[in-house]
């Protein structure tokens, strides 16, 4: 069963519980300078008409259907998990060339200086395969972040899903 991350910015307060969940799940050591895969943003942005928008956003890899990072990787580290549809990786042969970061419009792949390899959110692939929620989703108290089966997502036609953002950014192939 394939899954889709759904984010509702109206329910997000940028409390960063999702970030803590990500850090905990992936054993990040903040003191080493290693950053979690998920990030939250809280910014006031001036819009084109001069009004202001208060943005509360939680973001990580969007697990694009046609993920450009996969094609960009010269050593084939990235792939789609056929079961979950998440963009996963095996960085054994990663050369740290940062081509995946260059391809990603969301800034999801990140260079890890300690071993010179790229890392990214894998959707908590193993958790989801085991029937659990991704750590960030589990940590979200407000229901702003969800991970739903693709069929459910398509049936709901949610206008707030991450994949709507992907469409807005023109990332689907013609």
């Amino acid at each position: 069963m394939k899954y889709t991350f759904v984010f509702n910015p109206d329910l997000c307060s940028s409390c960063s519980s999702c970030v803590i969940g990500c850090m905990d799940q992936n054993d990040f050591d903040p003191e080493s300078g290693d950053l979690p895969f998920r990030k939250t943003f809280q910014n006031e942005i001036e819009l084109a008409d001069g009004s202001h928008y208060s943005a509360y956003i939680s973001a990580a890899c969007m697990h694009c259907v046609d993920a450009p990072c996969i094609d960009a990787c010269p050593v084939g580290c990235l792939s789609k998990d056929p079961e979950t549809g998440f963009t996963v990786y095996d960085n054994t042969n990663c050369i740290g060339c940062k081509s995946c970061a260059m391809a990603c419009p969301f800034g999801a792949p990140r260079y890890r200086k300690s071993d010179g390899k790229m890392v990214k959110c894998d959707g908590c692939n193993e958790r989801v395969k085991a029937g659990l929620k991704p750590a960030c989703v589990k940590a979200c108290s407000f229901g702003a972040l969800q991970c739903v089966p693709e069929e459910e997502f398509l049936a709901e036609g949610s206008a707030k899903a991450c994949n709507v953002l992907i469409d807005q950014l023109g990332l689907r192939r013609k």
Binding site: I45, A48, A59, P74, G76, K98, S99, M102, P105, G107
Partner: protein, 422 residues
């Protein structure tokens, strides 16, 4: 039963074969390769030399045999194509055989440029493009006999070869004919910073140096004589001055070409049934609207997919062709998005520098022309996508998430305003 030919089996050829096979299980797919090794990425050669990657790692799709089996191909190894009869879609091989096809893909890639300058064939003078080039250099470095090296060409490959030598503690000099490094991509101010960084890391850099010829010395060293009158002596000399598309065999084919094969957004050439993809083509650059040869792995893969899909009866377009250069070497990141040569004194410039980040960008009215950034690696894709969107939909605002991302990652508000063309 449809019969396809793929001439040249690198990234573009592999992706096209994969796409054709996914749409047409019965098709006969003949692959013509001038080597006996699997598709590989020329960019990986320097990583193999440095030891970041095992030899097998250069072949992300496996060996020719594995590709043949996986995609049910007929691979003709070490079978260079010498001519294409474009009107009749006929492939002519060096051994005299001829074969007609329903569809042909030309994906022959590019080769290291080796101009007819005296001395370039001397032992110890090398180029870096093929897996064989990489094996040879790795062995020479491993021998411990190289104490000094000269790299001619501050190109994307040249700088990686410099990195290989520095990592191996070989005293290295980098020379280039242009007045500053990365001349086709960098503003002068960006290049000056890159040069200073390289010099701090022990690399001697000399610019405005055009090669006249190379001579071998009695003690086994080589001397490069420059048109300026300067000379540079080293144990080995790398010539990394660019690439040339592998299209010589198409001279009388009737296929339209500039420096590369001209294609439309569906990767079709001017002749029906003949497609081209990868480093040998000139596809439309979305910034200038003109055909441009932009040879990067990502483009090759996507172009191969697009060609394969269209060859097999589908419809797909390649529309992301823009000049993007990424140099990552010796713990230094430089990216250029857009065409620096399109920038002039009449344009508006933005410049910013702090301890981690350097940005220089150029625009004219609503049109962003070029962005240089040093030290921005994780955000490169975000900025590149904003750049593309300003070309595709000039009236659109930058999406909120991208603005948040840049602000949170230390990009100044003034830069975002510049990108928003406010």
């Amino acid at each position: 039963m449809n019969k396809y030919a793929i001439v040249g089996f690198g990234c573009a050829g592999y992706h096209a074969a994969e796409k054709i096979r996914s749409r047409d299980q019965e098709a006969v797919i003949d692959v013509y390769s001038d080597t006996d090794i699997g598709p590989y990425n020329p960019m990986l050669t320097t990583y193999f030399v440095k030891g970041s990657l095992p030899y097998e790692g250069m072949f992300p799709f496996g060996s020719l045999e594995e590709c043949e089996k996986k995609l049910n191909l007929h691979i003709k190894k070490e079978c260079p194509v010498t001519a294409v009869d474009g009107e009749n879609r006929m492939i002519c091989c060096a051994d005299g055989t001829k074969e007609q096809y329903d569809r042909i893909l030309l994906s022959t890639g590019a080769s290291a440029l080796k101009p007819p300058i005296p001395g370039l064939s001397l032992p110890g003078v090398f180029t870096m493009r093929t897996a064989e080039d990489a094996v040879r250099l790795k062995e020479r470095i491993a021998s411990g006999k190289l104490k000094t090296a000269l790299v001619i060409g501050a190109s994307w490959v040249g700088i990686k070869v410099v990195e290989d030598f520095v990592e191996a503690k070989v005293a290295t000099t980098l020379v280039d004919g242009a007045p500053w490094m990365f001349y086709v991509a960098a503003f002068e101010e960006t290049a000056r910073r890159a040069k200073e960084d390289l010099e701090k890391k022990g690399v001697r850099v000399s610019l405005c140096q055009m090669l006249d010829h190379i001579e071998a010395n009695a003690d086994g060293t080589l001397t490069a004589f420059m048109k300026s009158g300067d000379t540079f002596t080293a144990d080995t000399i790398g010539v990394c001055i660019g690439v040339r598309t592998n299209t010589g065999f198409l001279k009388d084919s009737g296929i339209a070409m500039n420096r590369g094969i001209l294609v439309n957004s569906r990767m079709q050439t001017n002749l029906p049934g003949i497609y081209a993809a990868g480093d040998c083509v000139e596809a439309k650059d979305i910034q200038s609207g003109q055909p441009k040869n932009i040879g990067v792995w990502y483009n090759a893969g996507r172009q191969g997919e697009v060609a394969g899909e269209n060859m097999a009866g589908g419809f797909m377009e390649f529309d992301a062709n823009i000049l993007v250069n990424l140099a990552h070497y010796l713990d230094y990141d430089f990216i250029c998005v857009g065409d620096v040569s399109a920038c002039g004194p009449e344009d508006e410039y933005y410049e910013y520098e702090d301890e981690k980040l350097y940005i220089k960008a150029c625009k004219n009215g609503q049109k962003i022309k070029c962005i240089n950034m040093i030290g921005s690696a994780d955000a490169n894709g975000v900025v590149k996508n904003i750049f593309i969107k300003t070309i595709e939909t000039p009236e659109a605002e930058i999406d909120v998430k991208s603005v948040c991302y840049l602000l949170t990652n230390g990009f100044p508000e003034a830069f975002i305003s510049f990108l928003r063309r406010k």
